[in-house]
Protein backbone atom coordinates (compact mmCIF):
# COMPACT_ATOMS: atom_id res chain seq x y z
CA UNK A 1 0.00 0.00 0.00
CA UNK A 2 2.89 2.30 -0.78
CA UNK A 3 3.05 5.52 1.24
CA UNK A 4 -0.68 6.10 1.31
CA UNK A 5 -1.47 4.64 4.69
CA UNK A 6 -4.51 5.87 6.53
CA UNK A 7 -3.61 9.00 8.40
CA UNK A 8 -5.49 10.43 11.32
CA UNK A 9 -6.10 14.16 11.09
CA UNK A 10 -3.28 14.77 13.60
CA UNK A 11 -0.83 12.99 11.29
CA UNK A 12 -1.76 15.06 8.27
CA UNK A 13 0.27 17.97 6.99
CA UNK A 14 -1.80 20.79 8.43
CA UNK A 15 -0.18 23.61 6.48
CA UNK A 16 -3.01 25.85 5.31
CA UNK A 17 -3.96 25.47 1.63
CA UNK A 18 -5.15 28.06 -0.84
CA UNK A 19 -7.80 27.46 -3.50
CA UNK A 20 -7.17 28.45 -7.12
CA UNK A 21 -9.08 31.31 -8.73
CA UNK A 22 -11.03 28.81 -10.84
CA UNK A 23 -12.04 26.89 -7.73
CA UNK A 24 -13.11 30.06 -5.97
CA UNK A 25 -15.19 31.14 -8.99
CA UNK A 26 -17.00 27.79 -8.94
CA UNK A 27 -17.44 27.86 -5.16
CA UNK A 28 -18.85 31.37 -5.19
CA UNK A 29 -21.25 30.41 -7.99
CA UNK A 30 -22.58 27.55 -5.85
CA UNK A 31 -22.89 29.69 -2.71
CA UNK A 32 -24.89 32.27 -4.67
CA UNK A 33 -27.55 29.65 -5.46
CA UNK A 34 -28.83 29.76 -1.88
CA UNK A 35 -30.63 32.58 -0.07
CA UNK A 36 -28.72 35.02 2.10
CA UNK A 37 -27.73 33.38 5.38
CA UNK A 38 -28.18 29.84 4.02
CA UNK A 39 -24.70 29.47 2.54
CA UNK A 40 -24.05 26.32 4.52
CA UNK A 41 -26.35 24.52 2.08
CA UNK A 42 -23.51 24.79 -0.45
CA UNK A 43 -21.19 22.71 1.75
CA UNK A 44 -21.56 19.26 0.17
CA UNK A 45 -21.15 20.60 -3.33
CA UNK A 46 -18.08 22.56 -2.27
CA UNK A 47 -16.57 19.38 -0.84
CA UNK A 48 -17.09 17.76 -4.25
CA UNK A 49 -15.26 20.70 -5.85
CA UNK A 50 -12.42 20.35 -3.34
CA UNK A 51 -12.07 16.63 -3.94
CA UNK A 52 -12.19 17.02 -7.71
CA UNK A 53 -9.32 19.50 -7.50
CA UNK A 54 -7.13 17.84 -4.85
CA UNK A 55 -8.05 14.18 -5.35
CA UNK A 56 -9.05 13.85 -1.69
CA UNK A 57 -10.54 15.85 1.17
CA UNK A 58 -7.80 16.94 3.57
CA UNK A 59 -8.15 18.69 6.91
CA UNK A 60 -6.50 21.93 5.68
CA UNK A 61 -8.86 21.98 2.68
CA UNK A 62 -11.83 21.49 5.02
CA UNK A 63 -10.55 24.30 7.23
CA UNK A 64 -10.44 26.55 4.19
CA UNK A 65 -14.02 25.60 3.31
CA UNK A 66 -15.11 26.48 6.87
CA UNK A 67 -13.44 29.87 6.52
CA UNK A 68 -15.18 30.53 3.17
CA UNK A 69 -18.62 29.56 4.53
CA UNK A 70 -17.98 31.32 7.84
CA UNK A 71 -18.81 28.19 9.86
CA UNK A 72 -16.82 26.18 12.41
CA UNK A 73 -14.34 23.61 11.02
CA UNK A 74 -16.15 20.86 12.97
CA UNK A 75 -19.29 21.56 10.90
CA UNK A 76 -17.31 20.64 7.80
CA UNK A 77 -15.58 17.60 9.37
CA UNK A 78 -18.84 16.12 10.62
CA UNK A 79 -20.34 16.34 7.14
CA UNK A 80 -17.27 15.05 5.27
CA UNK A 81 -17.05 12.05 7.59
CA UNK A 82 -20.75 11.20 7.19
CA UNK A 83 -20.89 10.93 3.40
CA UNK A 84 -19.08 8.03 1.80
CA UNK A 85 -17.93 9.78 -1.35
CA UNK A 86 -15.34 11.91 0.41
CA UNK A 87 -11.89 10.37 0.67
CA UNK A 88 -10.42 11.48 3.98
CA UNK A 89 -7.03 10.02 3.14
CA UNK A 90 -4.85 10.28 0.05
CA UNK A 91 -5.92 7.99 -2.80
CA UNK A 92 -4.60 7.03 -6.23
CA UNK A 93 -5.19 9.12 -9.34
CA UNK A 94 -8.10 6.86 -10.27
CA UNK A 95 -10.37 5.46 -7.58
CA UNK A 96 -12.45 2.47 -8.67
CA UNK A 97 -15.59 2.17 -6.60
CA UNK A 98 -17.11 -1.18 -7.45
CA UNK A 99 -20.73 -1.74 -6.44
CA UNK A 100 -21.30 -4.95 -4.51
CA UNK A 101 -24.92 -4.68 -3.31
CA UNK A 102 -27.57 -7.32 -4.20
CA UNK A 103 -28.41 -6.63 -7.85
CA UNK A 104 -24.72 -6.31 -8.78
CA UNK A 105 -23.86 -9.37 -6.67
CA UNK A 106 -26.47 -11.40 -8.59
CA UNK A 107 -24.64 -10.86 -11.86
CA UNK A 108 -21.07 -11.32 -10.70
CA UNK A 109 -19.69 -8.25 -8.90
CA UNK A 110 -17.74 -10.51 -6.49
CA UNK A 111 -15.83 -11.97 -9.45
CA UNK A 112 -15.18 -8.51 -10.86
CA UNK A 113 -13.76 -7.29 -7.54
CA UNK A 114 -11.52 -10.37 -7.25
CA UNK A 115 -10.38 -9.86 -10.84
CA UNK A 116 -9.42 -6.22 -10.25
CA UNK A 117 -7.60 -7.14 -7.02
CA UNK A 118 -5.63 -9.73 -8.91
CA UNK A 119 -4.97 -7.56 -11.94
CA UNK A 120 -3.77 -4.53 -9.96
CA UNK A 121 -2.18 -6.68 -7.26
CA UNK A 122 -3.93 -4.80 -4.45
CA UNK A 123 -6.71 -5.58 -2.01
CA UNK A 124 -9.90 -3.55 -1.55
CA UNK A 125 -8.94 -0.32 0.20
CA UNK A 126 -5.40 -0.27 -1.17
CA UNK A 127 -3.57 1.82 -3.76
CA UNK A 128 -1.15 0.54 -6.41
CA UNK A 129 2.55 1.17 -5.77
CA UNK A 130 2.72 3.70 -8.61
CA UNK A 131 -0.11 5.68 -7.01
CA UNK A 132 -2.27 5.23 -10.09
CA UNK A 133 -5.25 3.18 -8.87
CA UNK A 134 -7.18 2.78 -5.63
CA UNK A 135 -9.77 0.01 -5.29
CA UNK A 136 -12.82 0.53 -3.12
CA UNK A 137 -16.19 -1.16 -2.88
CA UNK A 138 -19.42 0.82 -2.88
CA UNK A 139 -22.95 0.09 -1.74
CA UNK A 140 -25.61 0.48 -4.45
CA UNK A 141 -24.65 3.04 -7.09
CA UNK A 142 -28.16 3.12 -8.59
CA UNK A 143 -27.33 1.43 -11.87
CA UNK A 144 -28.69 -2.05 -11.11
CA UNK A 145 -30.06 -2.71 -14.60
CA UNK A 146 -26.61 -2.23 -16.09
CA UNK A 147 -24.76 -4.32 -13.51
CA UNK A 148 -22.03 -5.05 -12.63
CA UNK A 149 -20.89 -1.45 -12.39
CA UNK A 150 -18.01 0.62 -11.12
CA UNK A 151 -17.61 4.35 -10.83
CA UNK A 152 -14.41 6.33 -11.33
CA UNK A 153 -14.24 10.14 -11.27
CA UNK A 154 -18.07 10.29 -11.37
CA UNK A 155 -18.11 8.22 -14.57
CA UNK A 156 -20.12 4.99 -14.62
CA UNK A 157 -18.62 1.91 -16.26
CA UNK A 158 -21.43 -0.59 -16.78
CA UNK A 159 -22.04 -4.19 -17.87
CA UNK A 160 -18.57 -5.06 -16.58
CA UNK A 161 -16.74 -8.13 -17.80
CA UNK A 162 -13.11 -9.06 -17.25
CA UNK A 163 -12.29 -7.86 -20.77
CA UNK A 164 -14.04 -4.58 -20.13
CA UNK A 165 -12.12 -4.11 -16.89
CA UNK A 166 -8.88 -4.63 -18.84
CA UNK A 167 -9.95 -1.96 -21.34
CA UNK A 168 -10.93 0.51 -18.59
CA UNK A 169 -7.62 0.12 -16.76
CA UNK A 170 -5.68 0.52 -20.00
CA UNK A 171 -7.69 3.61 -20.97
CA UNK A 172 -6.98 5.28 -17.64
CA UNK A 173 -3.28 4.43 -17.89
CA UNK A 174 -3.19 6.05 -21.34
CA UNK A 175 -5.11 9.07 -20.08
CA UNK A 176 -2.66 9.59 -17.25
CA UNK A 177 0.25 9.54 -19.71
CA UNK A 178 -1.36 12.42 -21.58
CA UNK A 179 -1.67 14.55 -18.45
Amino acid sequence: MHNMKATSPTQQDLTPVEFSTDMMTEINRVIAMFPEGKQKSALIRILHIVQTNFGWTSVPAMNKVAEILNIQPIEVYEVATFYTMFHLNPVGNYVFEVCRTGPCMLVGSDDIIAYIENKLNIKVGETTADGMFTLKTAECLGACGYAPVLQCKYKFHEHLTKEKVDEIIEAYRQASLLN
Binding site: P103, G142, K155
Partner: protein, 451 residues
Protein backbone atom coordinates in the same frame (compact mmCIF):
# COMPACT_ATOMS: atom_id res chain seq x y z
CA UNK B 1 -43.85 -1.43 -25.80
CA UNK B 2 -47.35 -2.29 -24.65
CA UNK B 3 -49.55 0.20 -22.88
CA UNK B 4 -49.54 3.97 -22.69
CA UNK B 5 -46.32 5.85 -22.12
CA UNK B 6 -47.05 9.05 -20.24
CA UNK B 7 -43.49 9.80 -19.15
CA UNK B 8 -41.13 8.00 -21.50
CA UNK B 9 -43.07 8.26 -24.77
CA UNK B 10 -40.64 10.78 -26.22
CA UNK B 11 -37.31 9.61 -24.80
CA UNK B 12 -36.15 8.19 -28.10
CA UNK B 13 -36.63 11.41 -30.07
CA UNK B 14 -33.15 12.68 -31.03
CA UNK B 15 -32.31 15.88 -29.17
CA UNK B 16 -35.20 15.56 -26.68
CA UNK B 17 -32.77 16.58 -23.92
CA UNK B 18 -32.68 20.08 -25.46
CA UNK B 19 -35.29 22.75 -24.79
CA UNK B 20 -36.19 23.34 -28.43
CA UNK B 21 -36.86 19.72 -29.34
CA UNK B 22 -38.69 19.11 -26.07
CA UNK B 23 -40.89 22.19 -26.60
CA UNK B 24 -41.63 21.26 -30.23
CA UNK B 25 -42.87 17.88 -29.02
CA UNK B 26 -45.44 19.38 -26.71
CA UNK B 27 -43.14 20.13 -23.80
CA UNK B 28 -44.03 22.82 -21.24
CA UNK B 29 -47.71 22.64 -22.22
CA UNK B 30 -48.60 21.91 -18.59
CA UNK B 31 -46.82 25.09 -17.48
CA UNK B 32 -48.70 27.10 -20.06
CA UNK B 33 -52.03 25.54 -19.11
CA UNK B 34 -51.52 25.80 -15.34
CA UNK B 35 -50.10 29.32 -15.22
CA UNK B 36 -52.48 30.85 -17.78
CA UNK B 37 -55.72 28.99 -17.21
CA UNK B 38 -55.69 27.45 -13.75
CA UNK B 39 -55.42 28.60 -10.16
CA UNK B 40 -52.89 26.81 -7.94
CA UNK B 41 -55.73 25.09 -6.08
CA UNK B 42 -57.15 23.80 -9.35
CA UNK B 43 -53.82 22.17 -10.11
CA UNK B 44 -53.81 20.53 -6.66
CA UNK B 45 -57.37 19.34 -7.30
CA UNK B 46 -56.36 17.64 -10.58
CA UNK B 47 -53.50 15.86 -8.83
CA UNK B 48 -55.91 14.69 -6.12
CA UNK B 49 -58.36 13.45 -8.75
CA UNK B 50 -55.59 11.56 -10.54
CA UNK B 51 -55.06 9.26 -7.57
CA UNK B 52 -51.29 9.65 -8.08
CA UNK B 53 -49.40 7.98 -5.24
CA UNK B 54 -45.84 8.84 -4.26
CA UNK B 55 -43.49 6.99 -6.59
CA UNK B 56 -40.50 6.95 -4.26
CA UNK B 57 -41.74 3.91 -2.38
CA UNK B 58 -44.25 4.82 0.30
CA UNK B 59 -47.17 5.24 -2.12
CA UNK B 60 -48.77 8.07 -0.15
CA UNK B 61 -51.29 10.05 -2.25
CA UNK B 62 -49.42 13.03 -3.71
CA UNK B 63 -52.44 15.35 -3.84
CA UNK B 64 -53.16 14.72 -0.16
CA UNK B 65 -49.52 15.39 0.75
CA UNK B 66 -49.76 18.67 -1.13
CA UNK B 67 -52.95 19.65 0.67
CA UNK B 68 -51.17 19.29 4.05
CA UNK B 69 -48.74 22.09 3.17
CA UNK B 70 -49.01 24.87 5.72
CA UNK B 71 -49.42 28.35 4.25
CA UNK B 72 -48.64 30.91 6.95
CA UNK B 73 -48.52 34.53 5.72
CA UNK B 74 -45.11 35.87 4.76
CA UNK B 75 -43.25 32.55 5.14
CA UNK B 76 -41.67 31.10 1.97
CA UNK B 77 -42.67 27.58 0.93
CA UNK B 78 -40.44 25.14 -0.88
CA UNK B 79 -40.80 22.17 -3.20
CA UNK B 80 -37.91 19.73 -3.00
CA UNK B 81 -37.53 16.95 -5.53
CA UNK B 82 -36.11 13.77 -4.08
CA UNK B 83 -33.67 12.53 -6.73
CA UNK B 84 -31.56 10.64 -4.21
CA UNK B 85 -32.62 7.33 -5.79
CA UNK B 86 -30.73 5.14 -3.39
CA UNK B 87 -32.97 2.11 -2.83
CA UNK B 88 -31.03 -0.89 -4.16
CA UNK B 89 -32.70 -2.15 -7.32
CA UNK B 90 -34.00 1.29 -8.30
CA UNK B 91 -32.58 3.31 -11.19
CA UNK B 92 -35.65 4.70 -12.94
CA UNK B 93 -35.20 8.35 -11.93
CA UNK B 94 -31.65 8.35 -13.21
CA UNK B 95 -32.98 7.14 -16.58
CA UNK B 96 -35.73 9.75 -16.71
CA UNK B 97 -33.45 12.65 -15.73
CA UNK B 98 -30.71 11.60 -18.12
CA UNK B 99 -32.96 11.04 -21.13
CA UNK B 100 -35.62 13.72 -20.73
CA UNK B 101 -34.47 16.27 -18.11
CA UNK B 102 -36.98 18.92 -19.19
CA UNK B 103 -39.87 16.66 -18.14
CA UNK B 104 -38.70 16.91 -14.53
CA UNK B 105 -38.10 20.65 -14.83
CA UNK B 106 -41.56 21.14 -16.34
CA UNK B 107 -43.05 19.10 -13.50
CA UNK B 108 -41.14 21.19 -10.97
CA UNK B 109 -42.49 24.45 -12.43
CA UNK B 110 -46.11 23.27 -12.59
CA UNK B 111 -45.92 21.72 -9.11
CA UNK B 112 -44.17 24.75 -7.58
CA UNK B 113 -46.95 26.93 -9.00
CA UNK B 114 -49.56 24.67 -7.40
CA UNK B 115 -47.80 24.88 -4.03
CA UNK B 116 -46.90 28.56 -4.18
CA UNK B 117 -43.16 27.87 -4.00
CA UNK B 118 -40.83 30.44 -5.53
CA UNK B 119 -37.57 28.66 -4.74
CA UNK B 120 -37.45 24.93 -5.41
CA UNK B 121 -34.73 22.32 -5.29
CA UNK B 122 -33.73 19.06 -6.89
CA UNK B 123 -31.63 17.07 -4.42
CA UNK B 124 -29.69 14.44 -6.35
CA UNK B 125 -27.37 11.74 -5.02
CA UNK B 126 -23.71 12.72 -5.39
CA UNK B 127 -22.90 9.66 -7.48
CA UNK B 128 -25.17 11.11 -10.19
CA UNK B 129 -22.97 14.19 -10.67
CA UNK B 130 -23.11 13.80 -14.45
CA UNK B 131 -26.89 14.05 -14.27
CA UNK B 132 -26.61 17.15 -12.11
CA UNK B 133 -24.73 18.71 -15.02
CA UNK B 134 -27.41 17.55 -17.49
CA UNK B 135 -30.09 19.12 -15.28
CA UNK B 136 -28.19 22.38 -14.85
CA UNK B 137 -27.79 22.67 -18.60
CA UNK B 138 -31.51 22.11 -19.07
CA UNK B 139 -32.34 24.59 -16.30
CA UNK B 140 -30.16 27.22 -17.97
CA UNK B 141 -32.13 26.66 -21.19
CA UNK B 142 -35.40 26.98 -19.28
CA UNK B 143 -34.26 30.32 -17.83
CA UNK B 144 -33.15 31.52 -21.26
CA UNK B 145 -36.59 30.68 -22.65
CA UNK B 146 -38.57 32.37 -19.92
CA UNK B 147 -39.77 29.17 -18.20
CA UNK B 148 -37.84 29.95 -15.03
CA UNK B 149 -37.04 33.22 -13.31
CA UNK B 150 -39.32 36.23 -12.97
CA UNK B 151 -42.84 36.45 -14.34
CA UNK B 152 -42.92 33.09 -16.13
CA UNK B 153 -44.94 33.33 -19.39
CA UNK B 154 -46.29 36.67 -18.27
CA UNK B 155 -48.24 35.05 -15.43
CA UNK B 156 -46.62 36.96 -12.60
CA UNK B 157 -45.35 33.69 -11.12
CA UNK B 158 -41.62 33.65 -10.20
CA UNK B 159 -39.56 30.53 -9.71
CA UNK B 160 -35.90 29.77 -9.15
CA UNK B 161 -34.76 26.17 -9.41
CA UNK B 162 -31.52 24.85 -7.87
CA UNK B 163 -29.89 21.42 -8.11
CA UNK B 164 -27.93 20.27 -5.06
CA UNK B 165 -25.91 17.05 -4.74
CA UNK B 166 -25.59 14.64 -1.84
CA UNK B 167 -22.32 13.00 -0.92
CA UNK B 168 -23.12 9.28 -0.79
CA UNK B 169 -25.68 8.27 1.83
CA UNK B 170 -28.72 5.99 1.37
CA UNK B 171 -30.45 7.62 4.32
CA UNK B 172 -30.77 10.93 2.46
CA UNK B 173 -33.59 9.37 0.44
CA UNK B 174 -35.63 9.68 3.65
CA UNK B 175 -37.26 13.09 3.36
CA UNK B 176 -36.19 14.65 6.65
CA UNK B 177 -32.61 13.35 6.29
CA UNK B 178 -32.69 14.82 2.78
CA UNK B 179 -33.68 18.21 4.19
CA UNK B 180 -30.87 18.05 6.77
CA UNK B 181 -28.45 17.24 3.95
CA UNK B 182 -29.81 20.07 1.82
CA UNK B 183 -29.07 22.39 4.75
CA UNK B 184 -25.45 21.24 4.59
CA UNK B 185 -25.54 18.85 7.52
CA UNK B 186 -25.20 15.12 8.27
CA UNK B 187 -28.17 13.16 7.01
CA UNK B 188 -29.75 12.34 10.36
CA UNK B 189 -33.54 12.00 10.06
CA UNK B 190 -35.66 14.37 12.13
CA UNK B 191 -38.36 13.43 14.62
CA UNK B 192 -41.88 13.79 13.18
CA UNK B 193 -43.98 15.74 13.95
CA UNK B 194 -43.45 18.42 12.93
CA UNK B 195 -43.75 17.10 9.40
CA UNK B 196 -41.92 18.86 6.55
CA UNK B 197 -45.27 20.23 5.36
CA UNK B 198 -45.22 22.41 8.48
CA UNK B 199 -41.51 22.76 9.22
CA UNK B 200 -39.25 21.58 6.44
CA UNK B 201 -36.29 23.18 4.70
CA UNK B 202 -34.86 25.94 6.94
CA UNK B 203 -37.99 25.60 9.08
CA UNK B 204 -40.29 26.58 6.20
CA UNK B 205 -43.28 24.54 4.96
CA UNK B 206 -41.89 22.08 2.42
CA UNK B 207 -43.14 19.34 0.14
CA UNK B 208 -40.70 16.57 -0.79
CA UNK B 209 -41.69 14.47 -3.81
CA UNK B 210 -39.94 11.79 -5.84
CA UNK B 211 -38.74 12.57 -9.40
CA UNK B 212 -41.32 10.30 -11.00
CA UNK B 213 -44.18 11.77 -8.94
CA UNK B 214 -43.27 15.29 -10.06
CA UNK B 215 -42.87 14.20 -13.69
CA UNK B 216 -46.32 12.56 -13.54
CA UNK B 217 -47.87 15.95 -12.71
CA UNK B 218 -47.17 16.96 -16.33
CA UNK B 219 -49.54 14.45 -18.02
CA UNK B 220 -52.02 14.88 -15.14
CA UNK B 221 -52.32 18.62 -15.78
CA UNK B 222 -52.26 18.21 -19.56
CA UNK B 223 -54.93 15.52 -19.78
CA UNK B 224 -56.76 16.02 -16.51
CA UNK B 225 -56.73 14.01 -13.30
CA UNK B 226 -59.76 11.96 -14.33
CA UNK B 227 -58.10 10.78 -17.55
CA UNK B 228 -55.01 9.75 -15.58
CA UNK B 229 -57.11 7.87 -13.02
CA UNK B 230 -58.75 5.85 -15.80
CA UNK B 231 -55.43 4.08 -16.40
CA UNK B 232 -54.66 1.31 -13.94
CA UNK B 233 -56.68 -0.66 -11.43
CA UNK B 234 -58.36 0.39 -8.17
CA UNK B 235 -56.14 2.74 -6.17
CA UNK B 236 -53.16 2.04 -8.42
CA UNK B 237 -53.71 4.66 -11.09
CA UNK B 238 -51.64 5.78 -14.03
CA UNK B 239 -48.32 4.42 -15.19
CA UNK B 240 -45.31 3.38 -13.14
CA UNK B 241 -41.63 3.22 -13.97
CA UNK B 242 -40.20 -0.16 -13.06
CA UNK B 243 -36.45 -0.73 -12.72
CA UNK B 244 -35.84 -4.36 -13.60
CA UNK B 245 -32.54 -5.94 -12.58
CA UNK B 246 -30.98 -9.26 -11.67
CA UNK B 247 -31.03 -12.41 -13.77
CA UNK B 248 -33.31 -11.21 -16.57
CA UNK B 249 -32.87 -11.46 -20.32
CA UNK B 250 -33.68 -7.79 -20.74
CA UNK B 251 -33.22 -5.77 -17.53
CA UNK B 252 -33.81 -2.02 -17.70
CA UNK B 253 -36.37 0.72 -17.08
CA UNK B 254 -39.95 0.08 -18.24
CA UNK B 255 -42.98 2.31 -18.06
CA UNK B 256 -45.96 0.06 -17.41
CA UNK B 257 -49.64 0.72 -17.06
CA UNK B 258 -50.55 -0.27 -13.52
CA UNK B 259 -52.24 -3.66 -13.64
CA UNK B 260 -49.96 -5.52 -16.05
CA UNK B 261 -49.58 -9.05 -14.70
CA UNK B 262 -46.30 -9.90 -12.99
CA UNK B 263 -46.01 -12.93 -15.25
CA UNK B 264 -46.26 -10.79 -18.37
CA UNK B 265 -43.77 -8.29 -16.96
CA UNK B 266 -41.16 -10.96 -16.29
CA UNK B 267 -41.72 -13.16 -19.34
CA UNK B 268 -43.47 -10.95 -21.91
CA UNK B 269 -41.78 -9.83 -25.13
CA UNK B 270 -42.58 -6.21 -24.40
CA UNK B 271 -40.84 -6.38 -21.06
CA UNK B 272 -38.06 -8.47 -19.51
CA UNK B 273 -38.40 -11.54 -21.78
CA UNK B 274 -37.78 -14.10 -19.07
CA UNK B 275 -34.95 -15.40 -16.95
CA UNK B 276 -31.46 -15.16 -18.42
CA UNK B 277 -29.42 -18.16 -19.56
CA UNK B 278 -32.41 -20.50 -19.81
CA UNK B 279 -32.70 -20.79 -16.05
CA UNK B 280 -35.73 -20.85 -13.79
CA UNK B 281 -36.79 -18.13 -11.38
CA UNK B 282 -36.04 -18.76 -7.72
CA UNK B 283 -37.26 -15.55 -6.12
CA UNK B 284 -38.14 -11.91 -6.72
CA UNK B 285 -37.97 -8.68 -4.74
CA UNK B 286 -40.62 -6.58 -6.50
CA UNK B 287 -40.18 -3.13 -4.94
CA UNK B 288 -36.58 -2.40 -3.99
CA UNK B 289 -34.36 -4.09 -1.42
CA UNK B 290 -36.46 -3.00 1.56
CA UNK B 291 -39.58 -4.96 0.64
CA UNK B 292 -40.11 -8.65 1.40
CA UNK B 293 -38.59 -11.20 -0.97
CA UNK B 294 -41.03 -13.69 -2.53
CA UNK B 295 -40.26 -17.28 -3.56
CA UNK B 296 -41.06 -18.10 -7.21
CA UNK B 297 -44.47 -19.65 -6.50
CA UNK B 298 -45.70 -16.46 -4.80
CA UNK B 299 -44.35 -14.07 -7.44
CA UNK B 300 -46.77 -14.60 -10.32
CA UNK B 301 -49.66 -15.91 -8.20
CA UNK B 302 -50.99 -14.89 -4.82
CA UNK B 303 -51.36 -17.46 -2.05
CA UNK B 304 -55.03 -17.69 -3.02
CA UNK B 305 -54.00 -18.68 -6.55
CA UNK B 306 -54.99 -15.43 -8.28
CA UNK B 307 -52.79 -13.79 -10.86
CA UNK B 308 -50.45 -11.29 -9.23
CA UNK B 309 -50.58 -7.85 -10.89
CA UNK B 310 -48.17 -4.94 -10.91
CA UNK B 311 -50.24 -2.76 -8.56
CA UNK B 312 -49.83 -1.56 -4.98
CA UNK B 313 -52.70 -3.79 -3.85
CA UNK B 314 -51.94 -7.01 -5.71
CA UNK B 315 -48.24 -7.11 -4.80
CA UNK B 316 -49.21 -6.58 -1.16
CA UNK B 317 -51.91 -9.29 -1.31
CA UNK B 318 -51.39 -11.72 1.56
CA UNK B 319 -49.64 -9.14 3.74
CA UNK B 320 -46.13 -9.98 4.84
CA UNK B 321 -47.09 -13.66 5.20
CA UNK B 322 -47.29 -14.29 1.47
CA UNK B 323 -47.13 -10.86 -0.19
CA UNK B 324 -44.71 -7.98 -0.66
CA UNK B 325 -44.93 -4.36 -1.82
CA UNK B 326 -44.66 -2.34 -5.05
CA UNK B 327 -42.36 0.05 -3.18
CA UNK B 328 -40.13 2.06 -5.51
CA UNK B 329 -40.62 -0.40 -8.38
CA UNK B 330 -37.11 -1.81 -7.96
CA UNK B 331 -37.84 -5.24 -9.41
CA UNK B 332 -35.00 -7.68 -8.67
CA UNK B 333 -35.19 -11.21 -10.06
CA UNK B 334 -33.13 -14.19 -8.87
CA UNK B 335 -32.39 -17.30 -10.91
CA UNK B 336 -32.19 -20.82 -9.49
CA UNK B 337 -28.41 -20.58 -8.94
CA UNK B 338 -28.64 -17.72 -6.45
CA UNK B 339 -28.02 -18.16 -2.74
CA UNK B 340 -30.68 -16.50 -0.60
CA UNK B 341 -28.41 -16.47 2.46
CA UNK B 342 -25.69 -14.66 0.54
CA UNK B 343 -28.18 -12.18 -0.88
CA UNK B 344 -29.69 -11.52 2.54
CA UNK B 345 -26.18 -11.02 3.88
CA UNK B 346 -25.28 -8.45 1.18
CA UNK B 347 -28.43 -6.47 1.94
CA UNK B 348 -27.82 -6.67 5.70
CA UNK B 349 -24.30 -5.37 5.05
CA UNK B 350 -25.80 -2.58 2.98
CA UNK B 351 -28.14 -1.47 5.79
CA UNK B 352 -25.43 -1.73 8.44
CA UNK B 353 -23.24 0.45 6.23
CA UNK B 354 -26.03 2.96 5.62
CA UNK B 355 -27.53 3.26 9.11
CA UNK B 356 -26.96 6.87 10.15
CA UNK B 357 -26.21 5.74 13.70
CA UNK B 358 -28.70 7.99 15.40
CA UNK B 359 -30.98 5.31 16.94
CA UNK B 360 -29.42 2.44 18.89
CA UNK B 361 -31.78 -0.33 17.70
CA UNK B 362 -30.86 0.38 14.08
CA UNK B 363 -27.18 1.25 14.59
CA UNK B 364 -26.47 -1.85 16.69
CA UNK B 365 -29.12 -4.15 15.24
CA UNK B 366 -28.08 -3.77 11.61
CA UNK B 367 -24.48 -4.50 12.61
CA UNK B 368 -25.50 -7.62 14.50
CA UNK B 369 -27.60 -8.88 11.62
CA UNK B 370 -24.66 -8.40 9.25
CA UNK B 371 -22.35 -10.36 11.57
CA UNK B 372 -24.80 -13.20 12.18
CA UNK B 373 -25.59 -13.52 8.47
CA UNK B 374 -21.87 -13.47 7.70
CA UNK B 375 -21.45 -16.43 10.06
CA UNK B 376 -24.28 -18.31 8.38
CA UNK B 377 -23.05 -17.55 4.88
CA UNK B 378 -19.47 -18.59 5.60
CA UNK B 379 -20.30 -21.86 7.36
CA UNK B 380 -19.94 -20.89 11.03
CA UNK B 381 -23.62 -20.43 11.83
CA UNK B 382 -25.82 -22.29 14.29
CA UNK B 383 -29.56 -22.94 14.42
CA UNK B 384 -29.76 -20.41 17.25
CA UNK B 385 -28.40 -17.78 14.86
CA UNK B 386 -31.54 -18.08 12.77
CA UNK B 387 -33.79 -17.40 15.74
CA UNK B 388 -31.37 -14.70 16.90
CA UNK B 389 -31.94 -12.90 13.59
CA UNK B 390 -35.68 -13.00 14.21
CA UNK B 391 -35.16 -11.64 17.71
CA UNK B 392 -32.99 -8.75 16.48
CA UNK B 393 -35.59 -8.00 13.84
CA UNK B 394 -38.31 -7.54 16.43
CA UNK B 395 -36.08 -5.26 18.46
CA UNK B 396 -35.42 -2.94 15.49
CA UNK B 397 -38.82 -2.82 13.83
CA UNK B 398 -40.88 0.18 14.90
CA UNK B 399 -38.27 1.38 17.39
CA UNK B 400 -36.44 3.96 15.28
CA UNK B 401 -36.97 7.56 14.20
CA UNK B 402 -37.05 6.75 10.49
CA UNK B 403 -38.05 3.70 8.42
CA UNK B 404 -34.46 2.56 7.70
CA UNK B 405 -34.68 0.19 10.65
CA UNK B 406 -37.85 -1.40 9.29
CA UNK B 407 -36.32 -1.48 5.82
CA UNK B 408 -33.37 -3.41 7.20
CA UNK B 409 -35.50 -5.80 9.25
CA UNK B 410 -38.19 -6.74 6.73
CA UNK B 411 -35.98 -8.33 4.05
CA UNK B 412 -34.24 -10.54 6.63
CA UNK B 413 -37.54 -11.59 8.20
CA UNK B 414 -39.03 -12.39 4.79
CA UNK B 415 -35.98 -14.36 3.65
CA UNK B 416 -36.18 -16.55 6.77
CA UNK B 417 -39.96 -16.85 6.47
CA UNK B 418 -39.83 -18.20 2.92
CA UNK B 419 -36.39 -19.80 2.74
CA UNK B 420 -35.89 -21.17 6.26
CA UNK B 421 -34.85 -24.58 4.92
CA UNK B 422 -32.04 -22.94 2.97
CA UNK B 423 -30.79 -21.10 6.07
CA UNK B 424 -30.94 -24.36 8.04
CA UNK B 425 -29.09 -26.19 5.28
CA UNK B 426 -26.29 -23.61 5.63
CA UNK B 427 -25.98 -24.78 9.25
CA UNK B 428 -26.43 -28.52 8.81
CA UNK B 429 -24.40 -28.75 5.60
CA UNK B 430 -21.94 -25.96 6.28
CA UNK B 431 -19.07 -27.39 4.21
CA UNK B 432 -21.30 -28.22 1.25
CA UNK B 433 -22.83 -24.74 1.38
CA UNK B 434 -19.39 -23.32 0.64
CA UNK B 435 -19.13 -25.26 -2.61
CA UNK B 436 -22.62 -25.14 -4.11
CA UNK B 437 -25.90 -23.29 -3.85
CA UNK B 438 -29.07 -24.75 -2.43
CA UNK B 439 -31.16 -24.40 -5.56
CA UNK B 440 -34.92 -24.00 -5.78
CA UNK B 441 -37.18 -24.47 -2.80
CA UNK B 442 -40.42 -26.42 -2.94
CA UNK B 443 -43.66 -24.53 -2.45
CA UNK B 444 -45.12 -25.31 0.94
CA UNK B 445 -48.74 -25.21 -0.08
CA UNK B 446 -50.19 -26.48 3.19
CA UNK B 447 -48.29 -23.81 5.06
CA UNK B 448 -49.53 -21.08 2.77
CA UNK B 449 -53.11 -22.27 3.14
CA UNK B 450 -52.77 -22.33 6.90
CA UNK B 451 -51.71 -18.67 6.97
Amino acid sequence: MAGRQLLLENVHIPGIETFDVYRKNGGYASVEKALKKMTPDEVVEEVKKSGLRGRGGAGFPTGMKWSFLAKPEGVPRHLVCNADESEPGTFKDRYLMEKIPHLLIEGMITSSYALGANLSFIYIRGEFMYILHILEKAIAEAYANGMLGKNIMGSGFDLDLVVAPGGGAYICGEETALLESLEGKRGNPRMKPPFPAVKGLWGCPTVVNNVESIAAVVPIVNEGGDAYAKIGIERSTGTKLISASGNLIRPGVYEIEMGVSVEEFIYGDDYCRGIANGKRMKACIPGGSSVPILPAHLVTKTAAGENRLMTYESLADGGFASGSMLGSGGFIVFDEDQCIVRNTYTFARFYAHESCGQCSPCREGTGWMEKVLHRLEYGHGTMEDISLLEEINKKIEGNTICPLGDAAAWPVAAAIRHFREEFEWHVTNAAEAQTRNYGLIQPRVEEIKAL
